[in-house]
Structure formats: structure tokens, C-alpha cells
Amino acid sequence: MDLNTLWFILITVLFTGFFVLEGFDYGVGILLPFLGKKDEERRMIINTIGPIWDSNEVWMITAGGAMFAAFPQVYATLFSGAYLALILMLVGLILRGVGFEFRSKSPDPKWRNTWDWLLFVGSLVPALLWGVVVGNLMRGLAIDARMIYWGGLLPLLNPFALWGGLTFVALFTMHGANFLALRTTGEVEKRAQAVAFRAWIAAVVVTVIFVVWAFFATDILTKPGINGLIPAILAAIALLVAGYFVRQGRFGWAFGMGVLTIVFATVMVFAGLYPRILISTLNPAYSLTIYNASSSPYTLRVMTIVAAIFVPIVLAYLAWTYKVFSDRVTGKKMVY
């Protein structure tokens, strides 16, 4: 296997980790104003992800950073082309991050309610925009021979990509509801359990439409050679089984199935793209592939050695963090 393919796989892994982990963060943020009706309830919800949201977001930074280092042309084309969308996402993420810290620092109910809704917006907007980005990855962008996308923001908000955004929001909301059903107590736990099933139904409907649409509008599932069809089928199975476990009230298993759904869905996208990364709708010859958009072999070699040393360390302390903060939030001791 060459280093280009290895790094394509590693970036797939990083994006998968990011969507699995930040997925439930975004879901919790989206559900916050609805599952928490009183101040203590909302605080409880925030405290479930308070200690871990930041390390989850680091996966996004690492995925972007790995993209920058291994496939700098993709980083350049995508991030410059989607400049305004990224700024919007950035504003959402800033409000979210600050919201976690600021929200409970003043007892004023207007202050707390404002920040709760800013947390909601700051979770909804990035979830939606990431779905839009992935939708556009699947569909392709109008990239010219110089690897530049000139279209601006509006063509990125095409119907297929927007539905991709909706799919991400639905999946992450379900994922977040399962997480809250595992991590909260009392009234909030009951509400989360009820919402989990409704969110699952919404996720199934939205995702089925998205996958069928993708089958006809993109080549992700139909490309000869390696394509996303098998991961798509596995993702569908995982999603259906998740609903079974939600009905049974077994939310640990439901959450696990949600994890698998997101894992297989992400693998579906990247398997369908391989060996391209950014498809050009103008001319397939203009597409950015793992070969024409990558760094030099020397760079890839150095990166591989560094990653082999440090990624296991990072995974180890991430697991430790999760273990330390794994108890249910009871509302008695709330730091956030």
C-alpha cells in the first residue's frame, strides 16, 4: 500500500472519529433547550459533555490538520472555495465553545437562556454545514484545471448538499439523545428516552432519502471498483438495529449502533471517493486525487512515523478522560 492511500485511510479514520464524537456533542447542544425545561435540567445536560466536548472537537482539528499536511491542495481548494461557509461554521463553534464556559457564570436567567440558545445555534450550524460539506464532496464541485473553485457560497447550498446537512443534523440529534439517555437522571433522562425514538424515526426517513438520492445523483455508491455501497448497506442495518434497541430501552446498545451507523456512513463517503478527494464537476481530469494533491513522499514518510508514535498516546489519554467522566450526571455537583 502506498503512503498516499495510507494517509487517505488515516484521514477517513480521523473524520470518522470526529463525526462519532462531535456528533453526540452537536446532538446534545441541539436538544439542550428542548430536553431541559428548568435551569438545573439544562445545566445537567451541559455537564454531560462539559469535560469532553473540547477533546472531541480536537478530532476535527486533527482531521483538518492531517488533510493540510498530507493533501495540501485539497485543503487549499476546499477551504478557500468554501471560505464564507467556513467563517459561518467558525462563528457557530466560537459561540458554542464560549457558551459552555460562560453560561452558568451568572445567575441571571436571561443571561443563561440567551447562552442556551446560542449553544443550540452553535451546535446546529456546524452540524448542518458539515453535512453540506460532505454532500458537496459526494456530488463534486466546479473545480477548474488550476484546482480552484470559483463558485462562492450559493452553489454549495444546492438541494443535495442541504439534504446532506439535514441528514447529519438528524443523525447527530438521535446520537445525542441516546447519549443523554445514558448520562442523565430523573426527568431529563425520561425525556431523552422519549426523544430518542422520535429522533430515530426522523433519522431513518431523512437518511433513506439521502442515500437513495446519492445513488442517482453521485457515483459514490455505483463507481466501479471500490465504492460506498457495502458500507451504505451496513450503515442502514446499524441504523435499523439502533431503533430496535431504543424501543427495548437498551440505550447503551442503541448508542453503540449509532456509533456504527456514523462510522459506516463516513466510510461510505470516503470509499466512494477513493482515489479522488475532491471531484470536479467540470471535467473528471480536474479532480483532486490522492496522487495529484498530496505532499512529497518525504513529507508523508515523516508524518507516518510521527503519527505512529503519537496517535496511540492520544487515544490512550482520550480513553482515560472518558473513563474519569463516565458517571451519570445527577445534578448534585455541577462544575459547568
Binding site: G81, L84, I94
Partner: protein, 199 residues
Amino acid sequence: MISAEALWETEQPASFLVVAIPDSQARTNIFEIRIPYLLSFLSYNSFTARVEGLNELEKAAIARYGPGEYIPPVAINFYAFRIMVLAGLLMVLLAILAVAYKQPEARPGFLKVMLWAPILPYLAGTTGWIMAEVGRWPWIVYGLLRIEDAISPNVPASSIVFSLVVLTVLYAVLSVLAFRLAVKYGTQEATSGRVAEAY
């Protein structure tokens, strides 16, 4: 670096300019306060070393990289560098005093000064970065890629201005809120025993 010293003509030995008003059009300084020999020493550890000036360095750059402008804005660099060093030295001085005093917390004058001291790291950091980024002009990768060649052609200036305004306003609002929260918690009476519930 030499733009940070506002040294236009090569000198041997070179003086350190404490204050200068550079004139970038005329490529010289309108006003200077000098300390002789000091720049030679700071640059090359010798009081008689030859320090190249901006005009000579630009000729060398033109010979090496082709025609063009190679001198970054001198006034900005000059003052940014000096403010940074001054802020840094003040921080070191305050640190030494805090350690040298037997009971610094009992000295109201010192405490009043320390109340304003947190501005210094921000000042030093910001001016340091200004100097680094302004001083790199016209290169984004020194000797290899100019800034004008690295600009994304598909991002219009309007988008850049939009993002600059949005982020500046956002940060300004958040900074005010953060400051007010800090004042609120800083001026509370110290409550005994309550640690985790303080938030």
C-alpha cells in the same frame, strides 16, 4: 530584523537607535536618538562589527530574486519591536521585584502596579506578532513564495473584509463579557470552603 532597527545605511560600527522617525520614501530617518556601538554588539557580539543597512540588503535581494520591493514598513516594525522588548523587560523587572520583596502583598504601591501588569504580556505578544508578520513582507515563505503570489484568487476582498469585521466584532463583544465576568468574580468576598460550587 534590520527594518526593526530602522538602519538604512550600512554602518561600521553600528549605533542602536532608541528613537527614530523613519521616512520610507526618502529611505532615511528624519530624527534619531542613537547609542553608538550598541547595534554592532547586539547583532554580532563585537563592538566593531559591520551591520548591513536596509538599502544594501535590498540591492542584494534584487540581485538574488529579481526586481521589486523588499523593505517592509519600517516605522511599524521599529516601534512594534521596541514596545515588545520594553513590555518584556518590565515583566522581568516586576517578576524580580515580586521575588526580591519579602512581603510583596503588603506593599500597596507594588500591588497597584501589578494590577495593571497583565496588560504587558498581551502587549508583548501582540507587538511581537505584528513585527513577525509585517517584517516578513514581501515573503510568505522567505525566498520561495511572495505574499502576492499566495493569495487565493477565488476569495474576493469583500469576503475577507466580511470575515475580519465579523470576527473582530464577535471577539470584542466576548472580551467585554469576559472582562465583566472576571471583575464580578475578582471583586467577590472570598467565600470559605466553597470550591467546586463557585461556578
